[in-house]
Symmetry: C2
Subunit: 430 residues, 2 copies
C-alpha cells in the first residue's frame, strides 16, 4: 500500500487519528464564522468545511455528495448510497494529497476552508431515526450472564441469533455532553421491596456503532452479500447503564430505563472505505458451535467481514483532575473478537422485513475479549464490584462516581497505517 | 353536558365515530385536488382541510395552531403544546356548530374546505421519533406469562413498574397497509435446533397509543401532575407479533424481530380534550398489592386518570370476503382495565431523565380484561392454539392466515355522547 501524506502538517503526525487515509465525516459549527451546522471532514487538527469549497472542484457523483455537505446532518449524504461518499472522499484525498501534481492549486483552493478543530463545535452527526443495540461479544454475554443468571449464563439462542434490542434514539448525545446520574427503581436481593433513588451502579459500555447509509423498504430483507453497501461508517458508542435499575426491570421485556437516560457517541464517522485496510477474519466459532443459517453466512464475510479495531476505555476522576493526574486506561479490547459481524447484524435485523432508514444507528454491544484487561464495562471489569480498581489518587472504583469522566477511544493500526476515531467523552453529574 | 350538533349532516348520525365533539386530527391528501399532505380534522364522513380555511377565521393561539396545519405531519402542531390544539379545536367546534349564531357565515366559510373522506388518502399522522410499547394490562401479562413462564407468570416487578420496552419507529405504518408475513428463527420444544422460515404463529395485539405533544429536556423528569399536558391524543395500535420468533429470541433482551416487521396505527388522533368526558377511576389494585411509589401517585390521576374506551378486534378471512360474510368480532375489552394509567407511563418513562420529543408514540400493550371475550390477541384468545376460533365460513383460526384482515375499533360512550377512533386495519400477505 502506498502511504500518501497530506500537505496539512498536523495530518502527518504519527499519532494523529485523522491522517489523509481517514477523512471521517462529521457535523460541526464554528462560532467564529458561520454558525450554521454543516458537514465537515477531519484532517489532522483541522476540520475541512466541504460546503465552503468551490463547486467547480467536484464533478459527477462527488459533486452531488459535496452538495449534501451543506445540510445540518449527514442524513442527506447517507441517503445517496455508498458510492457518493466514496467518490467525495476520493476527491478530497486528491485535494489534500501532498504528492498530487496540482498541489499548489489545490492548497490555494482548500486552505480557506480549513478550520482549527478547537474552534469547531461538533454536533450529532445524524438525525438518528432508530437505534438498535446488539450483544455481539460472546465474552461480554457470558460474563454478564454469569452475574445475572448463574445457571444459564449464555442462553440457547446466542450462537444462532445476533441478539439485539431497540434502544432510545432521543437520548443519544454527542461526545462532551454531561450525563446526569439517573434515578430509578431497584431492589437488592436482601430487600423486601424495591426502592427509588439515584442509581448506585452506574456503568459505561464500550461499543462501536455503525451508521446505516442507504436503507431498505419494509418487507424487503437485505442479503448478506449486499449488507456492506448499507453501512456508511463507524463511531464510538458509550451505552451508559444503570446496573441496579437494569437488574430489577429487565424481565421480561429487556433493558429500558437502565439505558435510555443517555447514550454518547463520538462525532466523527469513519467510513467503511477508510476501514477497508483493517478488515479481518470473522471470530472463529468453537468446535461444536452451530454453523450460521445460510442467510447469515457468506464466505467473504467470514474471511474479511470483521474489523481489526482496537477499543479502549479510560477514566479520569474529579480528584485526578484536581491533583493533575492524566486519565488511566481501564481496558483495551478489539472489535474483531465479536461473535457476529456487522453484516450479520444487518441481515438478521432485516430478515423479517424490518426497514432501515438512512441515519439509523446499530451498535455492537459491549466489546469484551477473553482477558480481564479487555472487558469493556465496569460490571465485568470489577466483577460486579468484587474486584475494585485503584486509581492513581488511591481512590477505588467499583461503579462510576459523580465527576468521573469516561473517555472511549478506538484506532486501527496495520503495516504502518494508522487511523483513529477521536474520542467519545462524558462526565457524570449529580 | 349540552350536546351540540354539527351542521355537517353525517356528523349527526348516531353511530358516527366523528361527531362535533370529537374532531380528531390526522394527515391526509386528496387525489382530486392538491396532493400535498396536510393536517385535517374528521367531521362525520368529511375531512376538514384546516389549511384551506381563511386565516381571518382564527386569532391568537388558535391562529398559530391553524398555521401548523399546513405541515405534512402533526409534529409542528404537537410541539406547540397542548393549549394550541385545544384552542384550535374549540374554534373549529364553533365553526361547525349547528346552533352557533353565525351558522350561515360559518357554513359559507367552511364548506369549501370539506372533502369527502372517501376521496382522501390518510397518511401517518406524525413523524414518530421514538416508539415505546408498555405492558399495562395485568390480565394480558398474566395470561402470556402463564404460557411463556408457567412457574412465574407475573414477574415480581410488575406491580411496581409500568413495564415497557422500545419498539421500532421505522416500521410503523398507517391503517390499510398490507403486512407481509415475516420470516424468522424459531425453535419448537421438541426440535433439537432452531429453524428459519415464515412465522407459523402470526398474531395481532389490540392496543391504544398516545402521541406525545410537548416534550421534556434530557435529564428533566415529568411530574405526575404535569403528565397529562404532555399527551396530545390517542390512536389505535396493532402491534403485530410473531409468537414463535418471540419465544426463541426474547431472552435476555426482550422482543425484537418478533415485533419490528410492522406496527399499524389508525390515522385519526383523538385529542385528550375529546376524551375528557370519558375519564374513569384508575384500576383498583387488589388487596395486598403494593402502593405506587410517590412519584407515580397522584390523587387526581387515581380518581380520573384512566379512560373508558371500549376496544374491539375484528377478523375477516379471504374466504369470508369471497363468500360475502362481514367481519366477525373476536374480542371486546376496555382501556380502563389497565393496571397503569397513561400518566404513570409518562412519569415512569421520564423518571430517569429520558426525554420525549413531540410526535413520540407510547402504546399500552395488549388490552385484555378478565373475561375470555376481552382478550386482545390470538395467543390469549385461543390459549396458544388450544382453543381455536370458528369463523362463519367454518374455517378455524389459532393464528393469522394469509389474506386475513384484522380490524381494530375503539369508541367511548357515556350519557348519550359517543365518539370513536375510526379503524386500524391490516391484511396479512404471503
Amino acid at each position: 500500500m502506498t502511504l500518501q501524506r497530506s500537505w496539512v502538517a498536523s495530518a502527518q503526525a504519527a499519532n494523529t487519528d485523522f491522517p489523509l487515509h481517514n477523512l471521517p465525516f462529521g457535523v460541526f459549527r464554528d462560532w467564529e464564522g458561520d454558525d450554521a451546522p454543516r458537514v465537515g471532514v477531519a484532517i489532522g487538527d483541522r476540520v475541512l468545511d466541504v460546503s465552503a469549497l468551490k463547486a467547480s472542484l467536484f464533478d459527477g457523483v462527488a459533486k452531488r455528495a459535496a452538495d449534501a455537505c451543506a445540510e445540518s446532518t449527514l442524513n442527506a449524504l447517507m441517503s445517496l448510497g455508498s458510492e457518493y461518499a466514496t467518490a467525495l472522499r476520493a476527491r478530497l484525498i486528491e485535494l489534500l494529497d501532498a504528492s498530487h501534481a496540482d498541489i499548489e492549486t489545490n492548497k490555494k483552493a482548500v486552505q480557506p476552508a480549513l478550520i482549527a478543530m478547537k474552534d469547531a463545535e461538533m454536533l450529532l452527526p445524524a438525525q438518528i431515526g432508530d437505534y438498535t443495540d446488539f450483544y455481539a461479544s460472546i465474552h461480554h454475554a457470558t460474563n454478564v450472564g454469569l452475574m445475572f443468571r448463574p445457571d444459564t449464563p449464555l442462553l440457547p439462542n446466542y450462537k444462532h441469533i445476533p441478539v439485539g434490542y431497540h434502544g432510545r434514539a432521543s437520548s443519544i448525545v454527542v461526545s462532551g455532553t454531561a450525563i446526569k446520574r439517573p434515578q430509578g427503581q431497584s431492589k437488592s436481593d436482601d430487600a423486601e421491596a424495591p426502592s427509588f433513588g439515584p442509581t448506585k451502579m452506574l456503568d459505561y459500555e464500550l461499543e462501536m456503532g455503525a451508521f446505516i447509509g442507504g436503507g431498505n423498504s419494509l418487507g424487503e430483507p437485505i442479503a448478506i452479500k449486499d449488507a456492506r453497501t448499507h453501512l456508511f461508517g463507524l463511531c464510538l458508542v458509550n451505552d451508559w447503564s444503570a446496573r441496579d435499575i437494569q437488574r430489577w426491570e429487565y424481565q421480561p421485556l429487556g433493558p429500558f430505563l437502565a439505558k435510555n437516560f443517555g447514550t454518547t457517541i463520538s462525532p466523527w464517522v469513519v467510513t467503511m472505505d477508510a476501514l477497508e485496510p483493517f478488515r479481518a477474519r470473522a471470530f472463529a466459532r468453537a468446535q461444536g458451535d452451530p454453523a450460521p443459517f445460510p442467510h447469515l453466512y457468506d464466505e467473504t464475510d467470514q474471511t474479511s467481514g470483521a474489523l481489526d479495531v482496537i477499543v479502549e476505555a479510560w477514566l479520569e476522576s474529579a480528584k485526578m483532575r484536581d491533583d493533575g493526574f492524566e486519565a488511566v486506561r481501564l481496558s483495551r479490547g478489539n472489535m474483531k473478537n465479536l461473535y457476529w459481524t456487522l453484516a450479520q447484524m444487518v441481515v438478521h435485523h432485516t430478515s423479517n422485513g424490518c426497514n432501515f432508514k438512512p441515519g439509523d444507528l446499530i451498535a455492537t454491544g459491549t466489546i469484551s475479549g477473553e482477558e480481564k484487561e479487555s472487558r469493556g464495562c465496569l460490571i465485568e471489569r470489577t466483577w460486579r464490584g468484587a474486584e475494585p480498581l485503584t486509581l492513581p489518587t488511591d481512590e477505588t472504583r467499583t461503579f462510576l462516581q459523580d465527576g468521573d469522566t469516561v473517555i472511549l477511544k478506538a484506532y486501527c493500526e496495520r503495516d504502518g497505517l494508522r487511523i483513529g476515531f477521536g474520542e467519545c467523552r462524558g462526565t457524570v453529574s449529580a
